[in-house]
Symmetry: C2
């Protein structure tokens, strides 16, 4: 089946890894924080470990094993364990809050803002992230991400890859499933979106996975569009 | 108590009447639609009657007398009655859908976009409207309203002036109540926000009420800021 970009009305974007470089941003931000506070640590490994706690936490929520909580709160719980694990002590509550909100201060990949500006001229562009609304809004404001609206798994008290998130986003935008294209650097996100009849765009982000931390489940492939970055995506969608 | 604008972090805006001129926009849009379709009607009165159906519909939802439905659907129900009342027949489903979505095509007051651009530099700016997310997002995209995020009563399956809407918005933004300022041209909206400890800004919109259709309940007054438009609001908040 050939794909017709004219049928798509909205693009929904995964954010962590797809729009922003979480690893580089957090390692740099916490590195600066550490220098100011006189704390020495392997901040890249700290960041990788924090991210590694993410999927198991969300899976517990999806499975109903832990009650729904917004990502800021899940990050904060994981942070407490990480600080012990890395032997970092003596942080005030304000310090911990600042460190936890590093997820609000992520920098976009270089093509993200110019690519989104182009895509926005032709399509409605929205986040569809597991990040909570405050996190995504603060991030967008700081980084200049020009979203038409901020959609989050928080709105559905669920987490991707729960079908509720994809279905809920389409309904909230007042669009048919095939009028919405999920754009992500993660195959399993796209596989889950495609099961709900959304269109899919795979974005290659070579910097997304640290060595030895590639996903264990191989993505199915065969997405409607594959692009190397957001400029390439704009070109391929005629935007 | 003196008011300190530096304590406020986010401004949430009522939209219909406060940001956009619903009466002028709808009367003009439907006037053009009528001319194209050869339908003659008093479109200003049609618009006023449509709006008059709004508050009673919402009050039924707030009272639990009718189940929650998004504003697009409530507008559509009211439209069917209005078309009969004004003797307008023969519209297709697509025509009715187009007419109903006139609420997505409202034009801002002349100061709205430049005022919001200034306010956005200092504050997080968001909608907090009874309009559903799709309505507010489509409106913003068409009119160039530079929201940082689109918050709607839809997210809380409630309607202003239900306290859930104001409380939910503050929680979703991750802010304390006194860090959020509700901005509206309607005193009862501000009175309800103030009861939940939000800050309040009253915007005079002389064109908001048609003659003989002024609100029956007088607003309490004494808001933190009173401004004649969004430029004046920006000036008074030092933005």
């Amino acid at each position: 089946m050939t794909f017709d970009p004219a049928q798509v009305k909205a693009l929904t974007f995964d954010v962590f890894g797809t729009v922003v470089d979480w690893r580089g941003s957090i390692a740099a931000d916490l590195g600066a924080f550490g220098r100011k506070k006189g704390i020495t640590s392997d901040w890249v490994e700290f960041t990788n470990e924090w991210r590694a706690a993410y999927r198991p936490m969300l899976n517990k929520v999806i499975a109903g094993e832990t009650p729904w909580a917004k990502l800021d709160d899940l990050h904060r719980g994981a942070l407490e364990k990480l600080l012990r694990q890395f032997g970092i002590a003596g942080l005030s509550e304000a310090d911990k809050d600042y460190v936890n909100k590093v997820w609000h201060r992520l920098d976009p990949w270089p093509d993200s803002v110019p690519g989104l500006m182009r895509l926005k001229k032709k399509y409605l562009i929205a986040t569809l992230s597991n990040g909570n609304v405050a996190l995504l809004t603060n991030m967008a404001k700081r980084a200049g991400l020009p979203w038409d609206c901020v959609l989050s798994a928080e709105l559905f008290r669920a987490y991707k890859r729960d079908p509720k998130v994809y279905i809920g986003a389409c309904e909230m935008l007042g669009l048919q499933r095939h009028e919405v294209m999920m754009c992500a650097a993660h195959g399993d996100d796209l596989d889950a979106a495609r099961k709900q009849d959304l269109k899919t765009a795979y974005i290659t982000r070579p910097g997304e996975y640290a060595s030895g931390r590639e996903p264990k489940v191989k993505a199915e492939g065969g997405y409607d569009v594959e692009a190397k970055d957001f400029i390439d995506l704009a070109q391929k969608l005629g935007a």
